[in-house]
């Protein structure tokens, strides 16, 4: 119980620090509410009015108090670029991104586990070497470069859509059927998810291989062999199950990174998710939106870390502090 209380307290403290840093960060960079205004006589009164409208005429401390108060009420602020609540601007991109990163994570885990198990089982062979180097290569490759390769070698030959989240004609003449909507979305999700999956699988493959090698050297595996169990039973029932612990925690820990990693994938595929929203907000210097996105990403990482801590506590009885 002490462990859970400690981890909860640590997570809350981290959250508060992150929220505060999020406030400081976006007030330390150039640009602001009046960026992009184009009129000679806007330079004095109008610019002041805009600054006042966004509360930027108050002292930093006052702004900080207002910021915390608003956050406490679930208000992320108002976009400078389109004058809408930040949450309205980022809700849909977030909803768009989540299925893509879930699909990407599933692809990466499946590929990673398969590659890691095969490499560990055939350790020292050409298969192991090829598997390991391939995993390393994809782990090291820039994700956007993988995306371009996917466009060239998968989208073009198969005629799959290389951009967007749905066909540009899908809903022009009325709402599509559920089936048409789902299949169209799935078609558009496939390549970004595959790119994310390929970009991430290498890390999982290396972890699984390493963990499997350790597990396969255990006495109970030797016992299983001595009992005459088939290879697949030894690998899946005795090896992989016990090697999964680091993988589970790695997935949880990397969740926040995956969301951030989606930025480059979404840029390649013009996928209107949280990554593209981030790039747009940077381009427009729309700091309230950027602040909202960063806050969400930060919270995602902290929550994922907290979940990993709890999971570890549950899965590994040795963990007590």
């Amino acid at each position: 119980m002490d462990y859970i209380v400690k981890r909860t307290g640590f997570a809350l403290m981290t959250l508060f620090v992150a929220i505060s840093l999020n406030f400081v960060l976006f007030r330390a960079i150039p640009g602001g509410a009046v960026s992009g205004l184009r009129c000679q006589h806007c330079s004095v009164k109008f610019r002041e009015a805009i600054i006042k409208q966004y509360g930027l005429d108050k002292s930093k401390w006052e702004q900080y108090v207002v910021y915390l108060d608003r956050l406490g009420h679930g208000d992320l602020g108002t976009s400078i670029a389109d004058n809408r609540p930040v949450w309205d601007d980022i809700r849909q991109p977030l909803v768009n991104t989540l299925p893509m990163i879930v699909a990407g994570t599933v692809i990466s885990v499946l590929l990673g586990v398969l590659a890691g198990v095969v490499a560990a089982w055939r350790r020292g062979t050409l298969m192991d070497t090829a598997n390991t180097w391939t995993a390393l290569a994809f782990y090291a490759a820039p994700t956007q470069w993988i995306g371009i390769l996917v466009v060239f070698y998968i989208a073009l030959p198969l005629g799959l859509p290389a951009a967007g989240i749905e066909s540009n004609t899908l809903s022009i003449f009325g709402p599509p059927s559920t089936w048409a909507f789902v299949t169209d979305r799935a078609n558009h999700l496939l390549l970004p998810a595959l790119t994310l999956g390929i970009g991430l699988y290498g890390e999982y493959a290396l972890i699984v291989r390493s963990s499997m090698l350790e597990t396969l050297g255990e006495d109970y595996v030797l016992t299983a062999r001595a009992k005459g169990l088939k290879n697949w039973a030894i690998v899946w029932k005795h090896g992989l199950r016990n090697a999964m612990l680091p993988l589970v925690t790695l997935i949880a820990l990397s969740f926040g990174y995956i969301v951030a990693g989606a930025i480059v994938v979404e840029d390649v595929f013009s996928y209107p998710g949280i990554g593209l929203a981030t790039i747009n907000a940077i381009g427009r210097q729309d700091y309230p939106v950027l602040q909202g996105i960063f806050l969400l990403l930060t919270v995602a990482v902290i929550v994922a870390n907290f979940a990993a801590d709890l999971l570890y506590f549950k899965l590994d009885p040795r963990v007590t502090t």
Partner: protein, 562 residues
């Protein structure tokens, strides 16, 4: 991409200042057997940044304005001026009053009558806040003193002097729906900058299309406006998709997910041309790229960059040929004039001063000039500017400058920067790239501190057919509106005022050329290239007029299925 219009080229004739005239609205090809219907799917790397004409910068926005807002006149095939909302027009004997007869019975897309009153109200609104919130449209109404609508079909425009280019100027004037916009006209016009029509869909339109779906960096859907007064569109809708990645755009074209690409990426032109699957049109555009110098005489730092001799040296150090070869794959020509190729002889009037030519790439010459100015190279190869005294005293400092590079360019701005930085380094000038972001923030960086903060930028201008607008961008009146240099030359400003009122074409040409020479000598820009315009469409569609771009409603109404 900054400034309004998509490229025009190969102009056969331009109608300038008619005593009287009329519109025939030939903005769509006639003839039987044209297949109607189908969704025209357009791919672009340029996006609609807003449907508010007082705010937008991107050229794609101006295509949208042309489709959504009525204009008195527009360019038709030729291109030549023809009537759009105006059916005919006359001018008074003193040339100071123009009377337009507009279409009767026209309606906005929401069913509200569209009359001359909408035009008069918009015009007077632009005039009222011309040096403030409505400055972005004010250049089109230079010399206009007032507009009145004595009847629903009569619009009277009063000028303070006879103006030579009334019709080309009015082609840039978009008529807004008074019943939508008038509630934003108070508050000293401030609300005109914050109202975003794209948030109230479908947009109230008087043009051939209304916009039902808007996604700035996604897909925007144009649906025909059933009340449009002019020729109806052949397509049943236009779906414009913005691509963050040009490779994905070409992949979608190849996969049959697009029908038309409005600018093929330069590095993909050969692959799109190969195989003969697409109709590829290639021509010289109205887009001129440049290196921009902060030319505000009050700029406090790095004031050596105000010196025309330094700028001349830096032009010698600029390798245009490499930029053409690497950035444009050969689809551009080295350029030095502030006006584009389209203002040359093919326009019917040659506005281009033949004496203005790009300087050759000559680093030795560049070094020689900078040496003669006393800027000696330091141990690291970067030149040092000696300390100065007086009102604008500066300490000794290295010739190291930041270059703002916007990310909304239709060419590889980063690669272009690298080429410029490498060749300027040979002359002892060190550059670093400053990410400008989208057009709005990039412009904010240039105008920050009343044009006192930035040194250099790289950007481009998409130019109009008549040179007036481009000439105006160098005037003080355009500060914080379209001026991106902070250039301030009262003599030039006076000449600009004068050129618009000269009714003798040859005299006006002579004055315009004189203005070109002033800009060429002062070099607020080092002009780099005039870009090629390369479009591609599938064989299933025809009727494209890429050269008319945002000049003509036919750009989206004329394409039809084969």
């Amino acid at each position: 991409m900054r400034a309004h219009r998509l490229a025009a080229s190969a102009l056969a004739a331009v109608l300038i200042a008619a005593g009287c005239g009329g519109g025939s609205s030939t903005n769509a090809p006639s003839g039987g057997g044209i297949k109607t219907g189908g969704v025209l799917r357009v791919g672009s790397t340029s996006y609609i940044d807003s449907l508010n004409p007082f705010v937008a910068i991107e050229s794609q926005s101006y295509v949208a304005f042309t489709m959504v807002y009525p204009q008195l006149v527009q360019y038709g095939q030729g291109p030549k001026i023809e009537g759009d909302f105006a059916k005919s027009w006359t001018t008074s004997t003193d040339g100071k009053t123009w009377t337009f007869t507009v279409r009767s019975g026209a309606k906005w897309s929401d069913g509200t009558p569209l009359t001359a009153e909408d035009a008069a109200w918009t015009g007077n609104l632009v005039l009222q806040y011309a040096s403030g919130p409505t400055a972005a449209l004010a250049a089109a109404l230079t010399h206009v003193t007032s507009m009145t609508a004595p009847t629903p079909t009569t619009l009277v425009i009063n000028y303070d002097a006879p103006v030579d280019n009334v019709l080309p100027q009015l082609e840039q004037f978009f008529i807004l729906p008074k019943h939508v916009w008038e509630k934003y006209a108070g508050n000293s016009g401030k609300d005109l900058k914050t109202f975003l029509p794209e948030h109230s869909l479908p947009v109230v339109s008087g043009g051939p299309y209304t916009i039902r779906q808007y996604n700035e960096k996604g897909t925007t859907v144009y649906i025909p406006n059933k009340y449009f007064y002019g020729p109806k569109s052949y397509a049943s809708a236009v779906a414009l998709t913005y691509y963050t990645n040009s490779t994905s755009m070409i992949a979608d074209l190849d996969a049959g997910n697009l029908d038309f690409v409005d600018q093929v990426p330069y590095n993909a032109i050969s692959s799109v041309k190969s195989g003969g699957r697409f109709n590829v049109q290639s021509e010289q555009s109205s887009e001129v790229t440049n290196i921009t110098f902060n030319s505000n005489p009050l700029k406090p730092k790095n004031r050596e960059l105000l010196d025309p001799q330094v700028r001349q040296a830096l032009e010698y150090a600029t390798d245009r040929a490499q930029i053409v070869r690497v950035v444009y794959s050969g689809y551009a020509i080295p350029w030095a004039n502030m006006l584009s190729v389209q203002s040359g002889p093919s326009s019917g009037i040659n506005w281009l001063d033949p004496s203005i030519k790009p300087l050759p790439f000559d680093v030795t010459k560049a070094n020689s000039i900078l040496d003669s100015l006393g800027y000696k190279k330091g141990s690291d190869g970067t030149r040092v500017v000696p300390a100065t005294t007086g009102k604008y005293a500066q300490p000794a400092h290295k010739m190291e400058y930041g270059v703002i590079v916007p990310n909304s360019l239709d060419f590889n701005g980063d690669r272009q920067f690298q080429i410029i930085a490498a060749s300027w380094a040979q002359a002892g000038v060190k550059l670093h790239e400053v990410n400008g972001g989208d057009s709005g923030p990039a412009y904010a960086l240039e105008t920050a501190g009343n044009y006192t903060k930035f040194d250099l930028a790289t950007w481009d201008w998409n130019e109009y057919i008549d040179p007036d607008a481009q000439l105006s961008y160098m005037t003080k009146a355009q500060w914080f509106s379209w001026s991106d240099t902070g250039y301030n030359n009262p003599q030039y400003d006076a000449m600009y005022k004068q050129q618009g009122t000269i009714t003798n074409v040859q005299q006006r040409v002579a004055l315009v050329m004189q203005m070109e020479r002033i800009i060429a000598n002062d070099r607020p820009y080092i002009q780099l290239v005039d870009e090629g315009l390369v479009t591609a469409n599938t064989k299933g569609w025809t009727g494209f007029y890429p050269d008319l771009g945002a000049y003509c409603k036919c750009y989206y109404t004329a394409p039809h299925r084969v």
